[in-house]
């Protein structure tokens, strides 16, 4: 087994272990890590939405980004670059979050939910796999976001790390203008030091291994390359084992933590996440890691996710344990139609731009 494979499997095993450990130490059930939920919590803490049960500056996100930054700097991979379809990336980020909050979890949490025995997650995972499949068909037909360019100065890429340090300061100081949940999922938290360290370790390993849940399915579809999928399976095996050891495993559909049994909309919500993950070049976790590497286009996707979280909770799109909402279902349909249409135009534009040119007057 070569080093790349070892690293991806180690990353998966470590994520699974730390996710189970974070739940053991206070995080909500099957939510040791959830990039969508945690960005949603941070959005609430900054009062960009007012859903009182989901407001907290999650140290895991801060740790993830800092771990990614440390790895990128150590291995000279921090490069400020951007400029490829930034407005569309904002939109994909927002739809990615809306889809995830209809399902109640990002692709990472979908695996963690299944590893905790939540069978509802199967529909989300199938939807995500299907969405990535649709996105991959576009890739094969010519979809492209274009190429980002290196910026003359590194300052643009440094902004995101600075914002993350700002969040860390707010978490530690806890000024009055920041909202922290007193009950609900936002109040179920592991100790700050543990969450930070867990995030740091996962961020470092994810940056080094190139871990991406969307990329796993995409590579399978494109060339039967199972490299990233091995990490996917390692997470599942690891979190399953450690949930059993910690007594956190609960098999079935009913009564699962932060989950519902609206399976069609779990499937469609995560299908939306899957398409957006291909179009925006990375699952939510990978978006954070690429942002940590100075890639400003991915920072825009993360900002889009913040926007999506604010919209989801301000306008009743997000699901709850009792099920999906009509606003959420409508927004998933709007999202699916929008990304499919946008994908079509980007695909056609790339193919038209790259077709062999026929000079004027020449016979076709």
């Amino acid at each position: 087994m070569d080093k790349r494979h070892k690293l991806i499997i180690i990353t998966g095993v470590v994520i699974g272990f730390l996710a189970a450990l974070l739940v053991k130490f206070g995080n909500p059930g099957n939510m040791g890590f959830c990039i969508a939920c945690f960005i949603r919590d941070i959005t609430g803490a900054l009062k960009l939405h007012s859903a009182a049960p989901v407001q907290y500056i999650r140290p895991e996100i801060i740790g993830l980004v800092l771990g990614g930054i440390i790895a990128a700097l150590r291995f000279k991979e921090f490069k400020s670059m951007g400029g490829a379809q930034v407005v569309l990336r904002l939109l994909f980020g927002a739809f990615m979050m809306i889809g995830a909050l209809v399902f109640l979890g990002c692709p990472l949490r979908a695996i963690l939910r299944l590893g905790g025995g939540d069978l509802n997650a199967i529909f989300g995972i199938l939807g995500f796999a299907g969405g990535v499949g649709v996105g991959t068909i576009y890739l094969k037909k010519g979809y492209s976001m274009g190429k980002p360019v290196h910026t003359e100065s590194q300052v643009g890429g440094v902004i995101f790390p600075v914002l993350i340090f700002g969040l860390l300061a707010l978490l530690l100081i806890q000024p009055g203008f920041i909202a922290f949940s007193q009950s609900g999922p936002g109040a179920a938290v592991a100790p700050i030091w543990l969450a930070l360290i867990a995030g740091l370790v996962v961020g470092f390993l994810s940056q080094r291994s190139g871990f991406c849940l969307g990329g796993g399915w995409r590579d399978m579809y494109l060339g039967k390359n199972t490299h990233l999928m091995q990490g996917y399976l390692a997470i599942f095996a690891s979190v399953l084992v450690f949930n059993l050891i910690f007594g956190q495993f609960k098999w079935g559909f009913a009564g699962q933590p932060a989950a519902h049994s609206d399976h069609l909309w779990s499937f469609l919500g995560m299908a939306l996440v899957g398409i957006c993950a291909v179009f925006a070049e990375g699952c939510p976790l990978r978006q954070l890691i690429k942002s940590a590497e100075g890639k400003m286009d991915h920072v825009i996707v993360v900002i889009g996710m913040v926007l999506g979280a604010a919209l989801s909770h301000n306008f009743g799109l997000a699901s709850s344990g009792t099920g999906t909402t009509s606003n959420g279902r409508v927004s998933v349909v709007i999202g699916l139609v929008s990304v499919i249409v946008i994908g079509y135009f980007l695909t056609e534009a790339h193919r038209a731009k790259s077709s062999p040119k026929v000079s004027q007057g020449e016979a076709m």
């Binding site: 080093k3 690293l7 991979e77 890739l139 010519g142 979809y143 492209s144 190139g210 070049e281 790339h350």
Partner: protein, 92 residues
């Protein structure tokens, strides 16, 4: 260069579409060269590339151009010996 373990050429493309087209075009011309992941030495991004021995540069380039495959760049990648523990575990 004693630190260089091996070196190879990497053809990069503007999109996955062209990478797949390159693989297909080369196969039709008798070269069974599966796509490889973009080497970490070039970028931490995802992507598919064609990887060949350095001496094949001209023939592969000409075959791709003849098949109307847009090539983004051709890179010479060197895999170097890792000297410290951190690089051995986590470096590429």
């Amino acid at each position: 260069m004693p630190d260089v373990l091996k070196e190879y050429l990497v053809f990069t493309f503007p999109s996955t579409y062209y990478a797949l087209k390159a693989e297909k075009a080369l196969l039709a011309r008798g070269y069974d060269i599966p796509l490889s992941p973009l080497p970490r030495q070039l970028s931490s991004n995802c992507g598919e590339v064609i990887r060949v021995e350095p001496e094949m540069k001209v023939e592969i380039r000409d075959n791709l151009l003849a098949a109307n495959v847009e090539i983004e760049e051709i890179h010479l990648v060197q895999e170097k010996k890792k000297t410290n523990l951190m690089d051995k575990f986590f470096g590429y």
